[in-house]
């Protein structure tokens, strides 16, 4: 499979601030890739390097096999971009902005343009000055989604959308994927990424700390177990392999703990011997993964 986006050991500093600290990111063709991280972790800097707007201090970047800095103009015919903070020309209407941006990029699917304007409930005759943040985002999203660009780069595209419009956006992401297009979706809205993305990369302080399918990442992390048993549990439950965060109720028949993925079976069979009456075992949510990576200070990286 072809690789659409590839960066290796990307580094960029702005004065004393280290924005990117050896970032490796790979997105194969046809994949919807979640790019997760809190504000200031380097997501937007990475995207701006991929778009040839910013030049990295060192490291390798390729977009469709080309150099985003040197071949920016040619590559941009194949990329549609939605910035995180959408600024529009105040005296142009939304419809005009959609047309201008698409024409500058190299064309638009007319049918899809009309369809998207209707589904996103955008009034294209209003001047951009009067649009709310969500409506400005819709303008940029429609211009991007109505294009036939094989790569969509979306930088927190839904932060101003309401839940209904968020759903429309999710549908459109699926449609883009079924057309075989690739998507890099930067976000800190975890449910959005969980719904839409096949693989995610979690970025922290300018480097990728975790990358893989959601299933892979869950496998790496801990599940939460809640069990009710007939015989009281012994004190040594926190000594069981892989178990931590134990909470036991007063009667010692209800227990809650988290357990490493490889030890789930072991823990459940021990509980079974105590006479299980109820058991729930939840895999880690993306939120847990995310918080796990962010609750401790990063190793070897000075906290800014």
């Amino acid at each position: 499979m072809n690789t659409v986006i590839e960066t290796r050991d990307l580094r960029k500093t702005f004065g004393a601030t280290v924005a990117l600290d050896g970032l490796d990111l790979t997105v194969p063709e046809g994949e919807v890739h979640g790019f997760l991280g809190p504000n200031g972790s380097g997501k937007s800097t990475t995207i701006r390097i991929l778009l040839g707007l910013t030049r990295p201090d060192s490291g390798h970047t390729s977009l469709f096999g080309g150099d985003p800095w040197a071949d920016a103009t040619e590559l941009h015919r194949r990329v549609a971009y939605v910035p995180g903070d959408v600024a529009l020309w105040p005296n142009l209407t939304g419809g005009e902005v959609i047309d201008v941006l698409s024409r500058l990029r190299g064309g638009i699917d007319e049918g899809r343009r009309a369809d998207l304007i209707e589904r996103f409930e955008l009034d294209p005759r209003k001047k951009s000055r009067s649009y709310s943040k969500g409506n400005r985002q819709k303008v940029a999203l429609i211009a991007a989604l109505a294009s036939d660009a094989p790569l969509l780069i979306l930088d927190e595209p839904t932060s101003g959308l309401d839940p209904l419009m968020e759903r429309v956006f999710q549908d459109e992401l699926r449609a883009a994927r079924s057309r075989g297009h690739s998507v890099l979706l930067s976000s800190h809205i975890l449910s959005e990424v969980e719904h839409a993305c096949e693989r995610v990369s979690i970025v922290r302080a300018g480097r990728i700390v975790e990358s893989g399918t959601l299933a892979d990442l869950r496998h790496l992390s801990r599940s939460t177990v809640h069990a009710v048993v007939r015989s009281p549990v012994a004190q040594d439950i926190s000594q069981w392999a892989g178990v931590s965060d134990v909470l036991v109720d007063g009667g010692r028949t209800e227990v809650r703990f988290s357990v490493d993925a490889p030890h789930v079976g072991d823990a459940v069979s021990r509980l079974d011997r105590l006479g299980l009456t109820s058991l729930t075992c939840e895999p880690a949510s993306l939120e847990d993964l995310f918080l796990a990576h962010y609750s401790a200070p990063p190793e070897g990286v000075p906290v800014a």
């Binding site: 990329v79 910035p83 105040p90 047309d99 201008v100 941006l101 005759r125 209003k126 000055r129």
Partner: protein
Amino acid sequence: MSTLTGTGTLLHLAWRRDRVLIPVSLLALTALSVGSAQATIDLYPTDEAARNGLGSVLTNPSVVAMYGPVAATNRDALSVFKTVLMGAVFVGLLAYAVVRRHTRLEEEVGRLELVGAGVVGRRAPLTAAMTLAALAVVGASLLTTIGLIAVGLDATGSVAMGVAWMIAGLAMVGVTAVAAQLTTSARACAGIALSALAAMFVLRAIGDTARGSVAVISWVSPLGWASKVSAYGGNRFWVLGLAVALAVALVALAFSLLDRRDLGAGLVAARPGPARAKDGLGTPLVLVWHLARPAALGWLAAFVILGAVLGGLVGSVADMASDQSVVDMLKALGGSAGSITDIFLATELAFVAVAAAAAGISLALRLASEERAGRGEPVLATATSRNAWLGAHALPAFALPAALLLALGLVVALVSGGQDEAPGTVSMLAASASRLPAVAVLVAVALLASAALPIRAPAIGWGALAVAFALGEFGATVGLPDWLVKVSPFAHAPQLPGGNFSPTSAIVLCAVAALLTGLAFSAYRRRDAA
């Protein structure tokens, strides 16, 4: 909660944001009036010397049109003749800039909404902005009064000079406060307020130069009032009452408009626009032109009107030809050899070239303002190259001043056509075109600043124009060394019509402009987009 709650806090905030702009402007304005007065009294230490040296010159209509009538033919009045009206215009511009900055501009970018949600009365932001602007105006007046007394000018007259500036400043506080209520766009607010200032200037220029009953027209214009104070002459302090009355009326109007409208809205409701972009609107150049067109057409209208006024004055200028001292004065102001009409037009073209450069600079700076507003990034993320985006700004930035100067030259030639002394169409167009190389250098400076240092670009672009204008206009008067005056591109522009055209100067200026433009392209390709 009163409608004025929070005014004090907002005033403090506004001062914090303007703590460089206002003091620097006040010092520059004071230096302008005091420096110019000092230079004049060094040359002409007595009333008689001043009267003999300057007196008769200053009744010339082209001088009066630009600087206003002279209050009296004593030394002190003559020593401020250049700065009464010019300074009043600058004080008016400062008042406009401060009011607009803290009202409509804040409202358009949405910061006023953040402020408005706090414990802030409805009228507080406008009140704070007007208060700060009025304080700046009073400060400029006080400083110049003190400075002029310090260099030995008559105390009463010096107070009157300050009053003249105060009149223009207070009037512009009121005008801008109303303009800020009318439309939703800060640019349109600028257009309305600056057009009002230009109208004030043109009305008083007509009134001051007209004979007979038409002269009353000067009394319609607050800039006319500034001259009517007659500092160091009649010292008519009561004229300030007119300005205060006007300002109070305008402020009351602004408040009543403000009370009737929603935050962020204007009095003129936004109409729905087209749902689709016009067919051609899909290249960088067409986009830039589409965005800049309203401003460009405004400039063009102003230049056509100015051309008509100058063309109309050509006839009355010829009447003054008998007076040799007039010819000498005009030569000193930037004219050259040739007939009196030629000298008059060459002098006026020197001023017009500065305005044309301002038009070009404002277009060149759009590259940087688009980038700072975050609108450059989505364009550069399309198949638009850096060269194409910069070029789309460079082309109109150079073309607009050229179009403006040629349009003005053509209108002057058409309006003055048939008068004995008037230059022909071809020589008038050539005279206009001869200013272009100097203008191009300043546009190229602004372009390079936009391309290389987008955050500092406005300061560099406008600063370069201010320095070039000040060196060209006042450098020789204040007695600066020749090499320093020659730093200004305007010092190298030929004094046409009538004077000699130096191809070498033109070629050198064009080469400098081309070099700076080349550097702009090179710098823009290399740096990170912000």
